[in-house]
Amino acid sequence: MSAIPAGVEGFLHRFDGLRQRLPGARLPWLRALREAAAEAFRIQGFPTRRAEAWKYTDLRLVAEAGFEEPLSAIDDDPALPAPRGPYRAVFQDGRFREDLSTLEEAPFAAASLAAALPALEARLGALARPAEAALVALNTALFEDGLVVTVPAGVAGGVLELLSFASAGERPAAFHPRHLIRLEAGASLTLIETATGPAKARYLHNPVYEIELAEGATLTHARLQQEGLAAFQLGTAYARVASGATYDNFTLNAGGKLVRNEIHVVLEGPKAACHMNGAQLLRDGQHADTTTVLDHAAPDCASRQTYKTVLSGRSRGVFQGKIHVHQVAQRTDGYQMNQALLLSPEAEIDSKPQLEIYADDVKCSHGATVGEIDADQLFYLRARGIPEAKARAMLVEAFLTEAVEGVQDPVARDALQAAVAGWWEKAA
């Protein structure tokens, strides 16, 4: 047997112990999928910085942490925030809390993945393939639960909240929820996701999303990542966008010690659209990585990406954005901008835009800037009597505003605005 990469053994060992107890263990197709995923993870191991896609983010801390899967009784109830809409799905340590969720009257079908598994053979793993990504392999082998949403054709689903809580366990826990979201033709949904956890708890939250948008569907997907500051969140989302459909993603990275937000979008029908916006707000000791992979695989599609990173203390931010315009994708309209504001000389940002264009009639632009607080702007505010700390906070917020303003859905935009507002004052 060949050498097993670092950090893999512990997870595989637990997979061996848990394989009979994991949800869907009696489903042959799922058993085969999980076995293959565990094998894929054994072969790949955690990505290392030798891999181009992981050049700036080192997962050794995760590999060495020695997590245990929860699969234990949950005895504490999380403190739930005020609802943003009538429907919410609550997850604790990656498992559905039916007692805290309100989904019954929703105009769409939403349920626990663990309960729905027998009907999911065609959907689970349709987009997220273990052989292509180690974290997807890990998620596939060990997921215990997740959210399955289907919005029927033509239905306006309204706002659905997805709340994820981590418990303060004694040992570091890992959970790998799998979320499947499907909007049928002309349907719409605003999914607002909040992930939180205790300030000092060391845990790994490794969610994988598979998102399918049929013709003319619109999904607003706002992710507020506010994990505890000792936590790891490694999220991977796959979205397939059909003709005339729109995927509008905004990811706020504010929590966590080490975070990766990886999004793969394929615009596969004419006039599909995609907005990927985000803000990373980093304090001393935090590392956040946003990696986007966008495929323009059909003509007449539009994509907009605006990412803003604010870094203080000894923090590190990463943005990697790849746009692949296929030969068939004529009249593509693509835009990508990523900007960083450094508030400390010890902070670091790495930025890598990548455009691969194989069609000849396209409009594609990208840009990246790194800067500090503008001395003239700061003086102007102070000269009007605004104290320096407040003036700096206003300029940080102004820097982030452009990304948040791009979010079309007002409920999602308000939620993001509130999370961004005053961040710097709290952090300082």
């Binding site: 001395a375 003239d376 702007q377 003086f379 102007y380 505010l381 102070r382 000269a383 009007r384 009597g385 605004i386 104290p387 320096e388 407040k390 003036a391 206003m394 300029l395 917020e397 102004a398 820097f399 982030l400 505003t401 452009e402």
Partner: protein, 247 residues
């Protein structure tokens, strides 16, 4: 109210102000005129506390307190206001939020109750009407996409809201057409009061037709080389700064 004595300052090791003496009593408006490069803008920035200016000598007191020891926001709280020659654009900062934050910072300092959004809006609309400013300027980013004239009017609006005791107008007339100039001048004249003073810094005499100063000082080579009544401005307009040099 304002007393400048022997003020010298340099920028990047280069002396710009070379011994300025000036006394501005309460209730008076003084004009400082001078050619380009005479130190007019440096004086306004030194008084308002911008970084990058090394004070090498002299003193500035404002109502007896050492102005140069204060941070820019403390100077504003004490009642100083600089109307910028080039107002700064603040994309992403709404003009209304900016104005209200500034006003409330000063009100807090004065021990007055802060204004809520509605109270502020009412006050701002009144002041804007007086300055013929379109209301949508409140919704826009501070100075973003404003024309030159709009930026200057926005400075005067800030002045009208913050009600300083000492205003420094740094070439507020530059880039203004005659109508905008009158509006700006009306805004300044409306603040005239026994406890309001202003330093009007300008290259041209034109603005002084509308804001009639009590005294005119000529700044050349970093010094006040001549002082006189309002007639001095007209004289300069007719014969130019070269005549002063010759004198």
């Amino acid at each position: 109210m304002l007393k400048i004595e022997g003020l010298t300052a340099e920028v990047e090791g280069k002396p710009i102000l070379q011994g300025i003496d000036l006394e501005l009593p309460a209730g008076e408006i003084h004009a400082i005129m001078g050619p380009n490069g005479s130190g007019k803008s440096t004086l306004s920035y030194v008084l308002s506390g911008r970084e990058g200016y090394e004070i090498t000598g002299g003193s500035v007191t404002f109502d007896g307190i050492d102005l140069l020891a204060l941070e820019p926001e403390e100077r504003a709280a004490a009642g100083l206001f600089l109307a910028f020659q080039y107002p700064v654009e603040l994309p992403g900062v709404g003009n209304a939020l900016f104005l209200r934050t500034a006003l409330n910072a000063l009100r807090r300092h004065r021990g007055e109750a802060e204004l809520d959004a509605m109270q502020f809006l009412k006050l701002a609309r009144e002041r804007m009407k007086a300055l013929s400013m379109p209301e949508d300027m409140l919704k826009r980013g501070v100075n973003v996409g404003f024309s030159g004239g709009e930026k200057k009017r926005n400075e005067v609006l800030q002045m009208a809201l913050l009600r300083p005791r000492l205003a420094i107008l740094d070439e507020t007339d530059s880039g203004l057409d005659i109508d905008a100039l009158k509006i700006v001048a009306d805004g300044v004249n409306a603040l005239r009061a026994p406890d309001f003073s202003a330093l009007v810094i300008t290259h041209y005499q034109r603005l002084l037709d509308y804001i009639v100063p009590d005294r005119v000082h000529v700044l050349m080579g970093g010094r006040i080389v001549q002082s006189g009544g309002p007639e001095l401005a007209k004289q300069l307009e007719a014969s130019g700064y070269a005549s002063v040099k010759a004198a």
